[in-house]
Subunit: 402 residues, 2 copies
């Protein structure tokens, strides 16, 4: 009950700050005494700050304004991509405060080595956050791979990194600060959901790094499927008797719209940043690139026809690297959807490019911790401590609730 009221007060301040304690009581229906006690606890946990405001024209004491703290607890997002490492720290207001990104070829390297480098980047980001008064309270790692529901903490398979059954905590310098892995497409979808002005309640988010993944957000929560494998769009058949796929089947979407297929169709070879090369070629009107992207868009559209028929989303977002190619992918995608989704209302603008693009997954990873704290402030220690030892080992986790 108190836990719920803490979240209600914090959520009210987050949505409407600055507010006085009286304003919070007015908006929540809680008594002023209850609000004061809850605010004191939230302040002790470091999530609310209260500042003196300039005296208003009204008679009486100068006001004190509550706001979600821009110091104190924060979320660290990490990302291991095929060609980069990333880190981001987000404060409790949801604002990104620290960004780190290094280009690094991670495919086929030993997982332990890659994770050691990610841990270095994490330490740098946490140090940078500390200079801003931010204390990382939870760490989430975005990976381009399968992270099953059970057991938690395991990357079962990340084909484009060459990982099998990797548990980041086994390779982290201090297991107490090891990040919780999560599929990057899932995190990108959550970031998109949280970022949207008017979020779709049923969102399908399509993204591609080297592979193609979709993620489903239903009623504000990730839908992971029975075992965590939902959203495997890359192996939806788009030509049943088509091109053989590495998975053993034929005609999977990945063979038409995956990075390798598009690069091959465009007559290009993969480099450090193939998406930028594709966008440049397409922007310059290079005919094979335009054709390859149109073909990829048709295949993506066809796979999404199945997704729309089965899931009936009110939002469909093209994210990740695809977002940067949206100008060339979207026309063919929308045409396929318009031609094939006819037995229900379907608005072409329901399919739109992500506003976050390639930053989505690492941003989602950082925000996951923040959202968990906002939903349950008691996840934080009752008295905020400045002791670096204590803070380094505290970690906000949730049993797959978000």
């Amino acid at each position: 009950m108190r836990r719920q009221n803490l979240a209600v007060v914090l959520g009210t301040v987050a949505a409407h700050s600055p507010l006085s304690r009286a304003d919070v009581a007015g908006r929540t229906g809680l008594t002023r005494a209850a609000v004061s006690s809850l605010v004191d606890e939230l302040a002790a946990r470091g999530v609310l700050s209260e500042t003196e405001t300039a005296p208003s024209g009204r008679v009486g004491r100068p006001g004190r304004a509550l706001a979600v703290s821009d110091r104190g607890p924060a979320g660290l997002g990490l990302e291991i991509g095929v060609t980069h490492l990333g880190a981001c720290v987000v404060d409790l207001r949801g604002e990104p405060r620290v960004w780190h990104r290094v280009e690094r070829s991670n495919a086929g390297r030993a997982a332990g080595q890659v994770l050691a480098e990610a841990a270095e980047l994490a330490a740098e980001a946490e140090a940078a956050a500390a200079t801003l008064g931010l204390r990382v309270a939870g760490r989430v790692l975005a990976v381009p791979g399968v992270v099953p529901n059970e057991p938690r903490g395991l990357v079962e398979h990340a084909p484009n990194l060459g990982w099998h059954a990797v548990r980041p905590a086994d390779h982290w310098p201090d297991p107490a600060t090891a990040p919780e892995p999560e599929n990057e497409a899932n995190l990108g979808a959550l970031a998109e959901y949280w970022h949207a002005e008017q979020a779709a309640e049923t969102l399908v988010h399509v993204s591609a790094d080297a592979g193609i993944g979709a993620a489903l957000v239903i009623g504000g929560r990730l839908f992971r499927g029975a075992r965590g494998f939902a959203g495997e769009l890359g192996h939806v058949p788009v030509q049943p008797d088509g091109v053989p796929c590495s998975c053993g089947a034929r005609g999977c979407l990945e063979q038409y719209a995956g990075e390798a297929a598009v690069l091959g169709g465009a007559g290009l070879v993969g480099g450090a940043d193939p998406v930028t090369v594709l966008a440049e070629r397409a922007g310059a009107g290079h005919p094979p690139t335009l054709l390859a992207l149109e073909r990829a868009g048709r295949a993506l559209g066809l796979a999404l026809v199945s997704a729309v028929n089965l899931i009936d989303p009110d939002g469909l977002v093209l994210g990740g690297a695809y977002a940067e190619l949206a100008d060339w992918l979207l026309p063919a995608m929308r045409a396929e959807l318009a031609a094939r989704v006819t037995v229900r209302p379907w608005a072409p603008e329901a399919l739109r490019p992500s506003a976050l693009g390639r930053r989505g997954p690492v941003l989602g990873a950082a925000q996951l911790t923040v959202r968990r704290i906002l939903a349950d402030p008691t996840l934080l220690p009752a008295a905020a401590t400045e002791s670096p030892t204590a803070t380094a080992t505290s970690s906000v986790r949730s049993a797959g609730e978000v």
Copy 2:
């Protein structure tokens, strides 16, 4: 709080009856005084019965055993199919007590006429239930059509009946007893979920009457999509450049596995009960029928590959009329799934035929009311009344919660 405790007590009795009041206290952790008060209220609402049991070997008073009532409140399920009308009354224990089914060609007839006949069947079923001491507390109508999330009570489109924007309450003799319409595939899926010994938490239920529909049950609840159109499996493309479909697209599943396609492939024409004819022909080894069913099974399997990739269900059920053709459909379906779902664990036995078959939708329609009562017994009037007027107008509804 009391509402929740009422449901806890009722659920405990439903799962473990017969139980004494003391047993209920032991199992729920509620005090004996609280249990007594809750039991009294449940008895007053007519959902629990308490009977004297034969004296046990133990010393003391003869025991009194609590059980969910097999009299009193009940759920009425109705069904309007293309070739029949059905009705079913289920008691609070979940037992079907009354079944009515009449063959009736409903395609293309005026909706008002069909609904008037359904109302007659409903009245007969309620009368039969009354002779068993059962009082219908809620009415749900299974229809082969689209029932959007909003506005409730509307059948937007039922192509195989020829219905557009039909509101059953507008045609029901007494609007107060008009049934709440729901898509038959959804109800069949719920019935399957409730009936299973070990229910899959993420269930995809495929069924066919004249069209093909899938329904998704996630965590015990129907997933209807953003606007109620989820599970439109019949228009998943299985051959992108294939047979033109009535929807305007090409290669939709319905053109390969729908009733008309299978009948055509088998060289048969539709009669009163085409599924039985197909099953007889297939059972007799009629080669064109066997080929048509194998082709339908391959197409169904292909469409379900998309569903498995996107949704990651732990259960996949072949229901409705398809269940009666399972012997000939399942081998090709399982072969497609085995060949194409390779990047995750997938057990062929996860796809199984429904145990309920064509009775599923009407059974689900009847049980929906019972499940709502079990989840919230306060939906019933506080004192069970025997007055026919009062009972005829009472109706258990829920704002789309189940």
